[in-house]
């Protein structure tokens, strides 16, 4: 399998504190990877570094074998799409929210309209196409945000707790749709989550970030099977049992 994205000797510091300290991180083409870890572990910062939104203090990030720097950062960004925890939509209609990034990326008008229609339909928001983003519910906004990201046909999809602000039924249906989409598209994906019940719907690959370091990576069963520090992720819909997550 070919390497899509790789990171070497990455360091990100803020106020003299290490936020990220990652020796090596490799993402192969088609990988779907869940990143877990406690609050403040650096998960969101890692996604922002991987999406070239913040520059690390040291380290090399390579995309498709090329080092990304000032000269090709914009081109690199255009190969990615990012979904944040909050659905950060522009103050315009649902359809325009999906179309604007495509136009920004130089997609033709006709292709833009076709893709917007396709993804609004697939995510069940086509009836909301003319609604203004500010009038949408949380679930509708996040669907729009995901439709916007997928319509860009990114080579890498990055998602920062995309389902955490949603209620259980919406989360369940979106997870199932995302699972299908990722499975059929083969899109390289990295997503951050606090809720381990989300992981099996999308992938079996998990990486654990702790104090800015990637301390483990492997199959969900392996990771969950190990013991040391236990972090409880309890979800009220998870039969009241929750899932024990073993950090190290």
């Amino acid at each position: 399998m070919s390497v899509k994205l790789s990171v070497k000797n990455l360091k990100l510091m803020r106020s003299g504190r290490d936020i990220l300290d990652i020796e090596e991180f490799i993402l192969n083409r088609g990988d779907v990877l869940a990143i877990v870890g406690p609050n403040g572990a650096g998960k969101s910062s890692l996604l922002q570094v991987l999406s070239f939104l913040i520059e690390p203090d040291t380290g090399i990030i390579m995309l498709d074998g090329e080092t990304v720097g000032n000269g090709n950062r914009l081109a690199a960004r255009r190969k990615l799409a990012m979904v944040f925890q909050e659905s950060l939509l522009l103050d315009t209609t649902v359809q325009k929210n999906i179309e604007i990034p495509l136009r920004i990326r130089g997609v033709s008008r006709q292709e833009t309209a076709t893709r917007a229609q396709e993804w609004m339909h697939r995510l069940g928001i086509n009836c909301l196409s003319e609604q203004r983003a500010r009038n949408l519910s949380g679930g509708e906004s996040q669907r729009t945000s995901i439709a916007r990201a997928l319509a860009m046909k990114p080579e890498i999809l990055l998602m920062d707790e995309p389902f955490s602000a949603l209620d259980y039924p919406t989360r369940k249906s979106l997870l199932s749709e995302m699972g299908d989409i990722l499975h059929t598209s083969g899109m390289t994906t990295v997503f951050v989550t606090h809720d381990f019940s989300e992981i099996p719907a999308l992938t079996h690959q998990v990486a654990v970030l702790y104090n800015g370091r990637l301390i483990k990576r492997g199959d969900i069963q392996e990771i969950l099977g190990e013991s040391a520090v236990s972090v409880k992720s309890w979800a009220p819909w998870d039969d009241g049992a929750g899932s024990d997550f073993l950090m190290q």
Binding site: Q48, S51, L53, L74, R77, R78, L80, A81, M82, F84, E86, L88, L90, D91, I100, P101, I104, R105, R132, R134, M152
Partner: protein
Amino acid sequence: MNVFLDGFQSAFNLLISMDPDVLAITWRTIHVSTVATFISILIGIPIGTVLALTRFKGRGFLVSLINFGMGLPPVVVGLATWLMLTRYGPLGMLGLLYTPTAMILAQAVIASPIVAGFSIAAIQSLNPKLLLQIQSLGATRFQYLMLLLWEARLGILSAIIAGFGGVISEVGASMMVGGNIRGYTRVLTTATVLEVSKGKFELATALSIILLMLTFIIVSLLSYLQQRKAGH
């Protein structure tokens, strides 16, 4: 009270009779203040955007300076502009003193900090994560700025309204650099001051009422635009 009511009556009569002097003064007022506001948009919005989005040494001082500039007394701006444009001043060779252009320049100096200050507040009130999201869409620097200004447009329109309100109502600067020359640099505010000094309170009230009506109409149009964009 009588003066006020008579003023209303006179204002009405002046407008109905299409008094050429009053129409010319009104048109000049619109022209000078609109062009000055337009210039202040060209200066204030870019400065406000840069100060809102960047962090550098001395930025705090510049923001304080802008905030200070928002309350600049027009008469002081008028004096400064006069000193610049007077025959022996650094821009004296342009021969602009006592022309509508000089009034536009002075008013632009008054409005620019207002527009810049409100623009800083409008852009800084945007969700910082939205700015990251816009970058992540793959926007070039220009596309990024355009989307950002679109998102901040309600605040930016407030900046324009405040800037326009600041200049259409000022008298000190216009009087000082325009000279209140009949048929050339006389505007509604300076004409009002002149009529008061001549003891013609009725006409002064009429001119004030026309100024108020004019300001109300223009600000209402801008407010309508703002609220329509806000979806209310």
